[in-house]
Symmetry: C2
Subunit: 338 residues, 2 copies
DNA sequence: CTGAAAGCGCTAACAA
DNA sequence: TTGTTAGCGCTTTCAG
């Protein structure tokens, strides 16, 4: 089914049919009706590629993520998809698996009209600065969400990672912890560094004797990670509080505590950056710093469409910070109602 | 950057450049090299829409899911994306939110060359039979995964839901349960019915006095669900075993038990269909039936590409069943080492 | 081995 | 209000 077929059937020109289909003001209501009717009857679906080629837009956006097996990104996708569907846009999804080269290759493909805009959470290895710069210069709207690349002038939807890190540490301090470790994935992610800075600052600001920060790197391959944790927790001076800076390290820590028969929160208190919906039914229920994932996804998409629709000339300097919230549960409680 | 620009620069024709770019055998190695070099230097990226329009394929597949905030689908996406990226394909993602009308609208868009193939997990309301039929008839490869629509002849990648349901019930029976409830979402999903049938069969097959099945529907809006569970668990004859047929009902059940001070597994044993990675650190650790999510995604994509590449003439009758596995943990244990 | 030319389906000047 | 026409960038016969 093509426009020209419709046109022939109706005894009209392709131009007229095309305009009628797009509800142009220069077409009579009568013909519009006739066209619409036949289109429906014959189940006409426009060829998006033809129209994209001609109009130089594609009605599709790209979402580039490190991964999707993390509840933050899952929730964010929901937010993104919701507004995209509302706007009649299609959503392409790409996973970088935190690999720089993949990210580069992916972004490179967007330079030729493939997508009308890009939503990006940069990979851990290092951000694809050049590709990004070129994209932005090519006039393709880019919105960072959650994980940004500072050097590129693009809109940003983030949460307050420094604040959150500070908040997490402060929370543990308030609960009496004096030896707080910060558990970090090996990657040099900006958001993790910010959380880490917040943690360091909170230690500095704390009353009483100075505390020595303790940052522990846990590579993502399981074996290693488990060992690191076991060592950390079996040490003579083991932490009495742990900040888990990233969701995927939560389960390993809990498991390690179980193995070593460390009681949470009596022996050690744990707070974790996560959107896990099972936090309240963990053993014990986990105190979390929860990111507004859905909202961030939604807001990011909304901002991207501002850029795509060129409604706001300075949309690219938008810098939205949506606060994370600390939800206190038993993993950091002081009384032992467990 | 277009082919004709490259051609001009090189003093060649567009045809030659096009062929060189696609590594055609009718082009000399020398010119191929020259073309490749300049293309890289000028950062040429082919316009996918132009080539799609011409070739009638799009190098993109669609993945249509009920939702993504479920660990099964998150994991499946990873599998899908992996093989798509390997094949150089793009992945469009669409969420139906279990709504029939959305699913219909989405599928309808695929009729005009938008995608080369569709990976579909049907929505809960009811499957979009007509749209699907038309898609299949239009020659667009469709692969069902996890949730299928029986009446449509398309490849299927599923798990053994009847078996799993049977296995779950059998497991509880073996652990001494005599009053087993089956917790179901309100939707009429084929996979849930299969699990349910397995459960019913297991009850029938069980030795000893006949047991009355008890199927409890929990609508997805939270309040309702919570009430239903509270009622179920406060009844005079409350269940001593529960099969949670779908991931998202797990947390509510655990919460309800907590509220009612029911001890799992002493007072009530729970087994759940879920891919939650936090299952081992729940309170208590949760016995699960785990679906091979990543593998299913991967296999589904692989099968789809068979269809797209037309390598196997009868790929559409492929019907792969990947078994789920029962992982026993404390939520169904008989001794009270808790 | 290279090139000329037609056209994929649609849109947007411009004419009528 | 409708129609004519010229492409968008690419692929693909078919000639050279």
């Amino acid at each position: 089914m093509t426009i020209s077929l419709l046109a022939k059937e109706l005894g009209l020109s392709v131009a007229t049919v095309s305009k009628a289909l797009r509800d142009s003001h220069e077409i009579s209501t009568e013909t519009k009706l006739k066209v619409a009717e036949l289109a429906k009857k014959l189940n006409y679906v426009p060829n998006l590629y033809a129209s994209s080629l001609r109009r130089k837009n594609s009605k599709t956006i790209a979402v580039v993520l490190p991964e999707v097996a993390d509840s933050f990104f899952s929730l964010a996708i929901n937010g993104i998809e919701e507004v995209a569907q509302e706007k009649g846009y299609h959503v392409l999804i790409y996973l970088t698996h935190e690999q720089f080269t993949r990210e580069e290759a992916i972004l490179n493909e967007f330079k030729n009209g493939r997508v009308d805009g890009v939503l990006l959470s940069v990979s851990g290895e290092r951000p694809s600065g050049n590709q990004l710069q070129e994209l932005v210069e090519a006039g393709i709207p880019v919105v960072f969400f959650d994980r940004i690349f500072e050097d590129i002038a693009a809109a940003r939807i983030i949460t307050d990672d420094f604040e959150s890190g500070y908040m997490a540490a402060k929370h543990l301090l308030d609960r009496g912890c004096r030896q707080i470790s910060f558990l970090s994935p090996a990657k040099n992610l900006s958001i993790i560094s910010k959380r880490q800075e917040g943690y360091l600052q909170a230690l500095k600001d704390a009353e009483g004797p100075e505390m020595t920060p303790d940052i522990i790197y846990c590579p993502e391959d399981n074996g290693q990670c488990h060992n690191t944790m076991n060592t950390m927790l079996s040490n003579a001076v083991r932490p009495d509080g742990v900040i888990v800076s990233v969701e995927k390290l939560t389960a390993p820590v809990y498991m390690a505590c179980k193995t070593l028969k460390l009681n949470i929160p009596k022996d050690i208190k744990i707070i974790s950056f996560t959107n896990l919906q099972t936090a309240p039914i963990l053993d014990p229920p986990l105190t979390t710093i929860t990111q507004p994932a859905f909202e961030m996804g939604k807001k990011a998409a909304l901002t991207l469409f501002k850029g795509i629709e060129k409604k706001h000339y300075n949309w690219a300097s938008e810098n939205t910070v949506i606060p994370s919230v600390l939800v206190e549960r038993q993993s950091t409680s002081v009384d032992l109602e467990l």
